[in-house]
Amino acid sequence: MLYILHLVIHIFVFYYSQLDETFLERLWGLTEMFPDTLRSAAEVSANCSLSVGKRLYSFSRAALWVGTTSFMILVLPVVFETERLQLEQQQLQQQRQVGMSDKLRFISQCLYMFVCFVFLVKANSDFQFYL
């Protein structure tokens, strides 16, 4: 049994070594089983899709560049200026609404309390002096 297997392997190797085909060529040879029309259609569609893919890629690159630079030149300055104007107007409105800021209010309240305290102390000392 082993001898027969050995013989078969030798014959296979003998036949294989005599053929000048690589593995890929043998695989490609398998496609010959399909009819000619199908093979040519597949070839045409593959080439077509490859070229379309390349053109789409280069077109999208150019379109992105053209679009970005044109947008930068045509639209961006106006957008910057309108945003800045809007911000300034908002700030002005906020200032008018809020009135004094919190810190300023705190400080002015402290000052008021200090002035009242001083006045009371003076009144007290005057009263005692009067007494």
């Binding site: 053209v66 030149i73 045509l74 104007l85």
Partner: protein
């Protein structure tokens, strides 16, 4: 041929001639064109109360409203100092630093006479400017009678005379006729004669024609063209058809309410739009351009952008820096087809 005609300005001395230096001065547009009759909307025909027609303006001003919306190409650095010395006299200094051309200094002077013909107009007007290389541009505009206005202009390149022309314009009740004689040379027998006629047929419609006769020793030729202009409530459409090609332009001033609904601000930016179609038989090419102008008076900003069928994109931004009498202009032009970019900025003082 275009540089000889009164329509185009071959060497504009920047914004120097166009700002106020005193209360009585006329804003004279730089270049070889006549100053506008009415400041604001020149050449806008309309009806008086009894229905008669108004003067249609000059021939060159037909396409001007659309052309003013487009930005001009700026290159390099430009500093302009305008100074008004009196009610009648104004002086401007311009320093141009350029990467492509020559850098130089230009001195310009404007004198406005005392014969007052209108609220913002006085004659005679003498405008001149001289380059650091000695090139001189000069023009004298004078109102001879109430209907006739004449102009003499000349331009030299260093010491050589390049352009010399004189023209006379008659403004009737509802028509304008002008005759221009350009570069007349009696010794050689050459010259260019241009005749313009513009008639307003209705308050909105004006038709006219132009005849150009040029003569050189050995050859002479004639080019004619017709122009029609229709003015609507907020748009102007003009068409010029002639031997040199066709030129159609449409100018539209967008309704402020419509723009307000699109703008993010509570204040509407003023939007003006212009579309231009040009075809030339000499160069065998056509082009379509789209331009727009956005005015933000609150931000003291004026922005002009343009888009061309030759794959050229350009924009100009002008901002007044308050409270100083300073004005900053930035410009950029990008040619996508040739992949060339040009930018420039300018500062105007006064």
């Amino acid at each position: 041929m275009g540089s000889v005609l009164a329509a185009s300005s071959p060497n504009p001395p920047g914004a120097g001639g166009g700002t106020q230096g005193g209360p009585g001065l006329v804003t004279v547009p730089p270049g070889f064109t006549m100053p506008p009759v009415v400041p604001g909307t020149p050449g806008q025909p309309g009806t008086e109360s009894d229905g008669s027609l108004l003067n249609p303006g000059t021939f060159e001003e037909c396409h001007r409203k659309c052309k003013e919306v487009f930005p001009i190409q700026m290159e390099g650095v430009r500093l302009v100092v305008n100074k008004g010395l009196s009610n009648h006299f104004q002086v401007s200094h311009t320093i141009t630093l350029s990467t492509l051309g020559d850098s130089g200094y230009r001195f310009g002077a404007t004198y406005v006479g005392s014969k007052q013909t209108g609220p913002a107009e006085s004659f005679p007007v003498m405008v001149g400017d001289m380059d650091n290389t000695g090139s001189l541009n000069a023009q004298i505009i004078h109102q001879m009678t109430t209907h006739v206005r004449s102009k003499v202009a000349m331009q030299t390149q260093q010491h050589k005379f390049v352009n010399w022309q004189c023209d006379a314009e008659y403004r009737g009740d509802d028509f304008t006729a002008a005759v221009t004689l350009g570069n007349p040379d009696v010794l050689v027998g050459s010259g260019i004669l241009v005749a313009h006629y513009l008639q307003s047929l209705s308050p909105a419609l004006a038709l006219g024609g132009e005849l150009v006769y040029h003569r050189r020793p050995g050859e002479e030729g004639t080019v004619t063209s017709l122009v029609g202009r229709y003015t609507g409530s907020n748009y102007v459409a003009t068409l010029t058809v002639g031997g040199a090609g066709a030129h159609a332009s449409y100018y539209h001033k967008a309704n402020d309410q419509v723009v307000l609904s699109f703008s993010p601000l509570p204040v509407a930016p003023h939007l003006q739009v212009g579309v231009e179609f040009e075809s030339s038989t000499r160069m065998q090419e056509t082009s379509v351009s789209f331009g727009y102008q956005v005015d933000l008076p609150k931000a003291n900003l004026q922005f002009k952008g343009s888009l061309d069928s030759n794959w050229v994109v350009g924009a100009t931004l002008e901002k007044k820096l308050q409270p100083l009498p300073l004005s900053l202009a930035l410009g950029a032009f990008l040619n996508h087809r040739k992949n060339k970019f040009q930018c420039g900025f300018g500062v105007t003082i006064g």
